[in-house]
């Protein structure tokens, strides 16, 4: 168990190192990419700052809570983005389509691990800089009444959110074993999850039902933030964790069936 964990850690380190060499080979591109990622975080900060300049907050969400929400969204988004998001949603459909997925099948590494983590996005590590500043700003400027229990629950729900994204993108990426251009639908869902940076409580009732229960993207930021601030509903926490586990199981089933269906198109 420890031995295989150590092996996976070594592989992750190698993937990271390789991606770092690859990305920094074109210095200017690396700079632009990093600036773009930092700008994306800043953009949301500017949006919420503008919003609270107009009014003290929006129903049920004051300034500090809005910032925590945005910061929570970015921590899940960044972790997913660094580790597996692009690999599963964009890279996997491409290599399945052109047949280069063969190379993954022939290597002595579990296929899912290789497909999900083979490109670690080093540039995204630098996006943690404005993100950390965001947290420091929150802690310095607002009085937060949090407890050890709420922080622990928050961390747990952030992990749940990352697993939720992993399951969702694995499910969408795996459809490429059957669909010729499966990445289109993936991009659409990816866009939809991006909306999670806003508080879903303010949405109209029908839309709220969708984002809380049907495609519960509320688990990405709204729920962990509510848990940290102490107003999450225990039943909904259970629902979200249960939903994530079912989604993960479904994604793994689809992945395994996809592996069997793969026909190595271009070989």
């Amino acid at each position: 168990m420890v031995g295989s964990l150590k092996r996976y850690a070594q592989l992750l380190y190698l993937f990271t190192k390789f991606d770092f060499y690859l990305e920094t080979a074109y210095g200017l591109n690396f700079l632009f990419a990093t600036c773009g990622k930092i700008f994306r975080v800043l953009l949301v900060m500017v949006f919420f700052k503008t919003l609270v300049l107009r009014v003290p907050g929006i129903p049920q969400w004051n300034e500090a809570q809005l910032y925590i929400l945005a910061a929570t969204f970015y921590i899940t988004d960044l972790i997913a983005s660094i580790l597996f998001h692009r690999n599963l949603l964009f890279h996997l459909p491409r290599i399945i389509r052109d047949g280069t997925f063969d190379r993954i099948l022939t290597k002595p590494i579990p296929q899912l691990f290789h497909a999900a983590f083979n490109k670690i996005d080093v540039g995204d590590f630098l996006a943690f800089v404005p993100f950390m500043y965001f947290w420091i700003y929150i802690v310095q400027h607002f009085v937060l009444s949090v407890t050890f229990g709420s922080v622990a629950l928050y961390v747990l729900l952030v992990v749940n959110a990352v697993v939720f994204i992993f399951a969702l993108v694995l499910l969408l990426g795996s459809t490429s074993f059957w669909l010729n251009r499966g990445d289109g639908f993936g991009r659409l869902v990816d866009h939809a999850t991006g909306a999670a940076r806003f508080p879903f409580d303010i949405f109209p009732e029908k839309l709220k039902f969708v984002v809380f229960y049907i495609l519960p993207v509320a688990v990405l930021a709204t729920l962990p933030t509510q848990a940290l601030l102490g107003f999450a509903q225990p039943l909904y926490i259970l629902y979200s964790v249960g939903f994530t586990l079912i989604l993960l199981a479904a994604a793994l089933v689809v992945w395994n069936r996809g592996l069997h269906a793969y026909q190595s198109a271009s070989s």
């Binding site: 074109y26 200017l28 591109n29 690396f30 632009f32 990419a33 600036c35 773009g36 700008f39 994306r40 953009l43 500017v46 949006f47 503008t50 919003l51 300049l53 107009r54 009014v55 929006i58 129903p59 251009r181 289109g184 639908f185 991009r187 659409l188 866009h191 939809a192 991006g194 909306a195 806003f198 303010i202 949405f203 109209p204 839309l207």
Partner: protein
């Protein structure tokens, strides 16, 4: 083939391509629509019990976001996406041999790509306003629509020329995608994608007045909403014409020098 029939052929070809890949077109449209649905919901929550915010009624706000959605197709340009790959893979060599300059070729091809989505939007907006009773502010002055049309044309020409300059970056750097993403973020921020620029701090509004991007979406919509004085309208049109002149001149120089260093690496 006469110049006019050549342009017409390019337009027709793009419409046919769109009709063939209609699912892809619908995905792209849905991706834009998600954001244009989310931002008004957030802003409407900010309104609370207010009837207006910075001169924007609720109806104006909804019209604004419908306008942003339409302007993305009407005035924005995505020529850089296509050209980036053409240059990188050396496919643009074929275009350079054709009896039509690639600047003109992409211009008409991209106008063609807009027709199908715009047709779909026209139907959806008409249905939404007439059947679902979505509040929509229509202009009351006789001169508004002609001036709006002029600003849309100027806006599109500015956007196209700026994107063509950006596209030419691929002649100079190996991987221009990060630069495109960076540009997209800045462009979205200043064109009013996140909300009417009057909601933003004064310094930001003043800065955006002197930059080209607001003239590609925000300014035409403000004219449609009759939310600008005649003086501000005249000033805005003058600034946008100056930006158009600058964009055309810079594009001309950049295209000329870029082609000189092209070595058709992928051909």
């Amino acid at each position: 083939m006469s110049s006019r029939s050549l342009n017409w052929s390019l337009l027709k070809t793009s419409v046919k391509i769109d009709m063939h890949y209609r699912f892809r077109v619908l995905i792209w449209m849905a991706m834009s629509a998600i954001w244009v649905m989310v931002y008004p919901v957030v802003w409407l929550a900010v309104y609370g019990d207010r009837t207006e915010l910075s001169g924007f009624s609720r109806s104006d706000l909804l019209t604004y976001f419908i306008g942003i959605l339409v302007m993305e197709y009407l005035a924005q340009s995505y020529v850089d996406e296509d050209m980036h790959e053409e240059i990188r893979e050396g496919k643009i060599s074929a275009l350079l041999l054709k009896p039509v300059h690639f600047v003109r070729y992409f211009f008409f091809v991209h106008i063609g790509y807009k027709l199908l989505p715009l047709g779909v939007y026209a139907v959806l907006i008409t249905l939404g306003v007439s059947v679902l009773d979505i509040p929509f502010s229509l202009p009351t002055q006789w001169y508004t629509l002609p001036v709006f049309a002029c600003t849309v044309v100027i806006g599109h020409l500015i956007a196209y020329n700026l994107k063509m300059i950006l596209a030419c970056a691929a002649f100079w750097i190996e991987e221009a995608e990060p630069l495109r993403v960076l540009y997209w973020i800045v462009c979205n921020l200043f064109m009013g994608w996140m909300g009417p620029l009057v909601f933003f701090p004064l310094w930001f509004q003043q800065l955006s007045t002197h930059l080209p991007w607001q003239y590609t979406a925000y300014f035409p919509i403000m004219i449609f909403l009759e939310n600008v004085t005649v003086g501000a309208m005249t000033y805005g049109i003058a600034v946008s014409v100056v930006w158009l002149g600058i964009a055309v001149a810079v594009r001309h120089v950049v295209v000329r020098y870029s082609i000189r260093r092209y070595n058709a690496v992928g051909s």
